[in-house]
C-alpha cells in the first residue's frame, strides 16, 4: 500500500454518494470537452474521410515506415554508443584518480545542462567551419550520444552506489584487486539494477531523434513534415505521427516496468528521480 492510498478512509455511505455524483459530473465534463473537440474538427472540415484515407494507402505508409526505420536506426546507434561511454564516465567519476574524476564530473555536468539542439547546431554549422563535416546521420547521432551518455553515466553511478558497500569490501577482503572487484562483483550487480532505467532511457533517445526535424535527417518527424508539404493535410499527419511516437514510447516504458518488476527489489529504488527528467 502506498502513501497516497492510505490518506483516505474507506468511504462511508455519504462519501460514496458524493463520489458517485462527482464521477457522473466529471464524466459529463470529459464527454462535453471531447464532443467540443470533435465538433470543432467537423466544423473545420478536418474529419472528411479523404483527409485521413491516405494513411491506409501503401505508398504513404511505406514512406512513413521508412521514416520510422530511420528513427529506430538513429536511436539504436545512439544507444549502442552512449551505453559504454556512460559506463566509462560513471566509473571515471567514481574512481579515486583526481584528474580523471574531475574530467568525468565536468563532462557529465556540462552535457547534462546543455540543450541537445545546441550541440546538434554545433555539429551542423559550428564544426564545419573547422573542416569537420560528417554525414548528417552522425550530426544527429553524435550529439545525442554525447548528451545521453552524461545521463546514462548518472544512472550507472546511482546503480553502483546503490549496492551495499559490503559487497566491494568482501571482495577486497578476500584479496581481489580494485579492478577485479569492479569487474567481478560491482558491475554485474549494478548493471542488473540499472537495466530497467536504461530501457526507460530509450524513450528519451527516441524523443531525441525528433531533432532530425531541425537538421533534415529523414526520421519519422522530418518524413511526416515532407509528407505534409505534398498532401497539405497538416493536422491529420502530425496527430497520427504524434500517436505513433506515443504508442512506441508507451510500449518501451511498459517493457521497462515489466523488467523492473522481474528484477524487483533494488531496481525499484532508483526510480525516475535518480536522473534528470527527460523532457524534450
Amino acid at each position: 500500500m502506498s502513501t497516497q492510498d492510505s490518506l483516505f478512509d474507506v468511504a462511508g455511505p455519504r462519501a460514496r454518494r458524493r463520489i458517485r455524483i462527482a464521477t457522473l459530473v466529471s464524466l459529463l465534463v470529459i464527454a462535453a470537452v471531447a464532443a467540443l473537440v470533435v465538433l470543432r474538427f467537423a466544423q473545420a472540415g478536418q474529419l472528411a474521410a479523404d483527409r485521413w484515407a491516405e494513411f491506409t494507402q501503401g505508398p504513404y505508409l511505406l514512406f512513413l515506415l521508412a521514416g520510422l526505420g530511420n528513427t529506430a536506426v538513429a536511436a539504436a546507434a545512439s544507444a549502442v554508443l552512449a551505453l559504454p561511454l556512460g559506463l566509462l564516465l560513471a566509473l571515471g567519476r567514481l574512481s579515486k584518480g583526481g584528474i580523471l574524476r574531475r574530467v568525468c564530473t565536468v563532462w557529465i555536468e556540462c552535457f547534462r545542462s546543455v540543450p541537445l539542439l545546441l550541440v546538434v547546431y554545433i555539429f551542423v554549422s559550428g564544426l564545419p567551419q573547422y573542416g569537420i563535416n560528417p554525414d548528417i546521420f552522425w550530426k544527429l547521432v553524435i550529439p545525442i550520444t554525447l548528451c545521453s551518455s552524461a545521463v546514462m553515466a548518472e544512472i550507472f553511478r546511482a546503480g553502483i552506489t546503490a549496492l551495499p558497500s559490503g559487497q566491494a569490501e568482501a571482495g577486497l577482503s578476500i584479496g581481489l584487486s580494485g579492478g577485479q572487484v569492479t569487474r567481478a562483483i560491482v558491475l554485474p550487480q549494478a548493471i542488473r539494477i540499472v537495466v530497467p532505467s536504461m530501457v526507460a532511457q530509450l524513450v528519451v533517445l527516441v524523443k531525441d531523434t525528433t531533432l532530425g526535424y531541425a537538421v533534415s535527417y529523414p526520421e519519422l518527424m522530418k518524413t511526416s513534415n515532407n509528407l505534409t508539404a505534398y498532401t497539405n493535410h497538416l493536422i491529420q499527419t502530425y496527430l497520427i505521427i504524434a500517436a505513433v511516437y506515443v504508442v512506441t514510447n508507451v510500449l518501451i516504458s511498459h517493457f521497462a516496468r515489466w523488467l523492473e518488476s522481474r528484477f524487483s527489489g533494488r531496481s525499484a529504488r532508483l526510480g525516475r528521480s535518480a536522473v534528470g527528467a527527460g523532457i524534450g
Binding site: 497516497q4 464524466l27 547546431y121 554545433i122 524513450v203 516504458s253 534528470g276 523532457i279
Partner: protein
C-alpha cells in the same frame, strides 16, 4: 570576435531573455497544472483518476517537437491560432505538467506509509494529515525532482526555436548563419545554459538543506 560583441551581442542577449522568459512561464504553468493532475491521480473519483493517468502517459511519452508542430502548424487547420510564444509555452506546460505530476507523486510516496497512518491514529483528519504530516515531509523529497523538471524545461525551451521562437539556441544558430564566428557563440550559449542549470541546482540543494530534519 569583435564582430560578435559589436554586432550580435544584442541578438544574443535577446535570445537569452527569451529563453529565460519561456522557461519561467513554462515552469510556473507546469507547477500549477502538474499539481492539478497529481490531485486528479489520487482523487477517489475514478474518471478523474483515469484522466490523470491518461494525461501523464500521453505527455510523458510524446516528443516535444511533435507536440510543438501539432499546436503551431496543426491547430490552425481547425481554426485555433496562437502567437508563436504562446504555442511554445502551451506545449511546454502540457509536457512539463506531466513530469511535475510524477515528481510530486514520487515525493508523496517517498513519505513512509507509517507516517500517515500514525497521523490518522492520533486523530488528525484528512487536511490535518496533509498539513502537519505529509506536506512538510513531501516538500523535502520533492525539491530535487522539481529542480530536475526545471532543468528539463530549460533545456527543452531550445526546441521552441524549431517553430521560430527566437530563443538563445536559435539566435546562436542564426548568428552563425550570417557570420562564421567559429565556436565562440555556441560556447557562450552553452555556458549560459550551464550557469542557469547550476544556479537552479544550487538553489534546490540549499532549499533541501533548509527543509531537512535530522532524524
Amino acid at each position: 570576435m569583435d564582430q560578435l560583441f559589436t554586432t550580435y551581442l544584442g541578438d544574443l542577449l535577446a535570445g537569452l531573455w527569451m529563453t529565460v522568459r519561456l522557461t519561467a512561464v513554462a515552469f510556473a504553468g507546469s507547477l500549477v497544472l502538474g499539481t492539478v493532475v497529481a490531485a486528479f491521480r489520487v482523487s477517489p473519483v475514478a474518471p478523474l483518476r483515469a484522466l490523470g493517468r491518461f494525461y501523464v502517459e500521453l505527455f510523458v511519452n510524446i516528443p516535444l517537437i511533435s507536440l510543438l508542430v501539432v499546436v503551431t502548424f496543426g491547430l490552425p487547420d481547425v481554426g485555433v491560432t496562437f502567437d508563436l510564444f504562446t504555442c511554445a509555452a502551451i506545449s511546454m506546460v502540457l509536457l512539463g505538467a506531466a513530469f511535475t505530476c510524477e515528481a510530486i507523486r514520487s515525493g508523496v510516496n517517498a513519505v513512509p506509509v507509517g507516517q500517515v497512518e500514525a497521523g490518522r491514529a492520533v486523530g488528525l483528519d484528512f487536511f490535518g494529515v496533509l498539513r502537519h504530516v505529509l506536506f512538510p515531509q513531501a516538500f523535502r523529497s520533492v525539491v530535487q525532482p522539481i529542480v530536475n523538471v526545471f532543468i528539463g524545461i530549460l533545456l527543452s525551451s531550445s526546441l521552441a526555436g524549431v517553430i521560430g521562437v527566437k530563443d538563445l539556441t536559435l539566435q546562436v544558430s542564426e548568428i552563425n548563419n550570417k557570420a562564421a564566428l567559429g565556436l565562440t557563440t555556441y560556447l557562450l550559449a552553452a555556458f549560459a545554459y550551464i550557469v542557469i542549470a547550476l544556479l537552479a541546482g544550487g538553489l534546490g540543494s540549499r532549499l533541501e538543506q533548509r527543509l531537512k530534519v535530522l532524524r
